[in-house]
């Protein structure tokens, strides 16, 4: 894994925020799943969110592309506020790419069709150009030789890389990752993490929910710890892992770093 420490000096990051979450609350019925979330993400910043299951980390990033609705507070993505306005939601979704834990490739379409779908139907790009975009991104994740296969014929790691490429075809400004390697066999985790690191090297703004601490250490600008719906602590990887401030953080770290 390439050491990205040199890029982590905050001043080198652009000063404008691309995601602002202000006093956000979300309830599932009576259950207060996200409590007073305040988070600012700058352009090209890379954040890893960790925490025990049920802490609300997936829910948080799903609120950013409106797969979940928040009830209180504000979420502003690339200057557009997330409300019930459908037009805004669609605009934001075209700028924000998401990679799911279970890949969610479209099984009835070939790989290249999976990727070209967004450009053709959302960006209204001609077919040939869409396929070129698709092949370009497939090459980026090193899976161009599988272009004409169907998702059912690929392994888990291959499918996840295709999923990453599919999101990239929309030229998103932000990439969200919801536990991208949790459903993979151990020997396939590396190929997916490598693809994500390459993405990082190109300067993509990334928010990753993951337990892969090695990845966090080498690539993240900030690591956030969430528990019971709150962001408990957030810091640079060195500070976070060497100097956890809260007891809950210490407890969590002791459980996962053994």
């Amino acid at each position: 894994m390439v050491n990205q420490k040199s890029e982590k000096i905050e001043s080198s990051l652009a000063n404008d925020a691309i995601i602002e979450i202000i006093e956000m609350h979300k309830w599932f019925g009576d259950f207060h799943v996200l409590q007073d979330i305040n988070l600012t993400v700058k352009k090209q910043e890379r954040i890893v969110i960790c925490g025990p299951s049920g802490s609300g980390k997936s829910t948080l990033i799903r609120c950013i592309n409106r797969l979940e609705e928040h009830q209180r507070g504000k979420i502003i993505v690339d200057g557009i506020e997330l409300t019930n306005d459908l037009k805004n939601i669609e605009k934001i979704r075209a700028e924000v790419g998401m990679v799911f834990q279970h890949f969610n490739l479209f099984p009835h379409l070939t790989i290249v069709d999976n990727l070209a779908l967004g450009p053709i139907w959302v960006r209204k790009v001609p077919k040939k150009e869409a396929e070129e975009i698709a092949m370009h991104n497939l090459e980026k994740v090193q899976i161009a030789d599988q272009a004409l296969k169907y998702p059912g014929q690929l392994s888990g790691g291959q499918q996840q890389r295709v999923a990453i490429a599919r999101s990239l075809c929309m030229s998103p400004k932000i990439m969200l990752f919801d536990e991208p390697t949790s459903a993979l066999d151990p020997e396939m985790i590396k190929e997916v993490l490598d693809a994500m690191i390459e993405l990082a090297q190109e300067g993509m703004t990334m928010i990753v929910v993951s337990h892969e601490m090695g990845f966090a250490k080498s690539v993240a600008h900030r690591v956030l710890f969430m528990d019971f719906g709150q962001i408990v602590e957030g810091n640079t990887p060195e500070e976070f892992f060497d100097n956890p401030q809260h007891d809950r953080t210490k407890l969590f770290l002791s459980q996962i770093l053994h």
């Binding site: 019925g29 009576d30 409590q35 209180r72 962001i231 408990v232």
Partner: protein, 364 residues
């Protein structure tokens, strides 16, 4: 390099009042968006138009115990047709004084069914209990022993007949269905072809054609002078029909068994018969219990067709009661009553099968 925010005590902030509680439920479930709200309003309008008159007809203006003449005068539902004819509807032509026997037989059946619901009772003793139970039921109905007077099968009718045809039908059809399913899986071409032909032929034709066949063609198959009565002919037709469907259900179960099971049994040296009996069938049959209950429900509904070959199941007894001049014209009430019987039975069986499927899926 920002530090964490203080951990707010935000637990005491309540969700917006429009999101939870009664208002929240209404908003989310009935009035989410203008389209849904419109739909809700239109539906409520239609319900308002239909339900109150229906309730008035069925409950307020209705008569529950009265004569036929009084019913003709009233505008409401004439439920009195039921109590007046109930014993005929339920028991058909069974001798009046001995109707406790089919009643007991039905109670026995229902008791066995309820007992079988609990999966903890699924042991070998249950199979014996069923065998004994069915024998006892046949004895109660037929009589001729132990001081019970003999009642000819031509007098059997109503609900006991319906239950008998379905339960016996499925019970006898099951082993035949298993044999057919195994035959269809077989690698012997002759056996496979015969099984496939049988299954596809029976599944491709309506039950009524088989009942017709049983009614007019079976007698021709028999040598001179031998007759079998109506009910047995219909029962045979129902068994042959149900067996083909059971075969497909069991085939689904057999296909779900991994190849490795067959290979493991082979490598121990088990013969075909033992492999099936000890390894494959126990697993396959467990898998297909929910669809088998569905099959029982279908068999139960299908027995209503024997009306067409003039057997007095509960549907025909109802029609006969309706042909009485005193009660003519109240078909709706009578049919609703029978429909209720069928619905209750099928609903409980359906529910049970769904619950069973959930339990089995989670591997309990």
């Amino acid at each position: 390099m920002e530090k964490a925010d203080q951990i707010n005590k935000s637990k005491d902030i309540k969700p917006p009042v429009t999101q939870v509680g009664v208002i929240g439920w209404f908003r989310a479930n009935l009035f989410k968006g203008w389209f849904n709200s419109l739909l809700t309003l239109i539906t409520i309008y239609f319900l308002w138009m239909i339900v109150p008159p229906l309730i008035r007809w069925a409950f307020i203006d209705s008569l529950w115990i009265s004569t036929g003449a009084e019913c003709q005068q009233s505008d409401g539902a004439c439920w009195s047709i039921i109590p007046a004819n109930i014993r005929f509807i339920i028991f058909g032509f069974y001798p009046y004084d001995h109707q406790w026997r089919p009643l007991l037989a039905m109670a026995l059946l229902v008791g066995l069914l309820f007992y079988s619901r609990n999966r903890d009772h699924w042991k070998k003793s249950l199979a014996y209990a069923w065998f004994l139970g069915l024998l006892l039921m046949g004895l109660l109905m037929k009589g001729g022993l132990f001081g019970l007077i003999s009642v000819e099968t031509s007098q059997w009718g109503g609900l006991p007949l319906t239950l008998l045809l379905s339960v016996f039908g499925l019970t006898a059809a099951y082993p035949l269905g298993i044999v057919l399913a195994l035959g269809r899986q077989s690698e012997m071409p002759a056996v496979k072809t015969l099984s496939v032909m049988y299954i596809e032929l029976i599944r491709g034709v309506p039950l009524i054609s088989l009942l017709f066949m049983s009614s007019v063609v079976f007698p021709l198959f028999l040598p001179q002078g031998v007759t079998i009565n109506n009910i047995i002919r219909a029962q045979v037709a129902i068994i042959l029909f149900t067996a083909a469907y059971v075969a497909e259900v069991v085939r689904g179960g057999l296909q779900a068994i991994a190849r490795g099971q067959y290979e493991a049994a082979d490598s121990i040296g088990l013969s075909y018969y033992l492999t099936m009996r000890l390894v494959i069938l126990p697993q396959a049959l467990k898998i297909v219990i929910p669809p088998s209950v569905q099959q029982l429900i279908s068999a139960f509904k299908d027995t209503s067709l024997v009306v067409i070959i003039a057997l007095f199941d509960v549907l025909r007894t109802t029609q006969t009661a309706l042909s009485d001049p005193e009660w003519m014209g109240f078909s709706a009430e009578a049919y609703i009553f029978v429909a209720l019987i069928y619905f209750l039975c099928c609903f409980f069986m359906s529910n049970y099968s769904r619950r069973l499927e959930r339990e089995l899926e989670t591997g309990l």
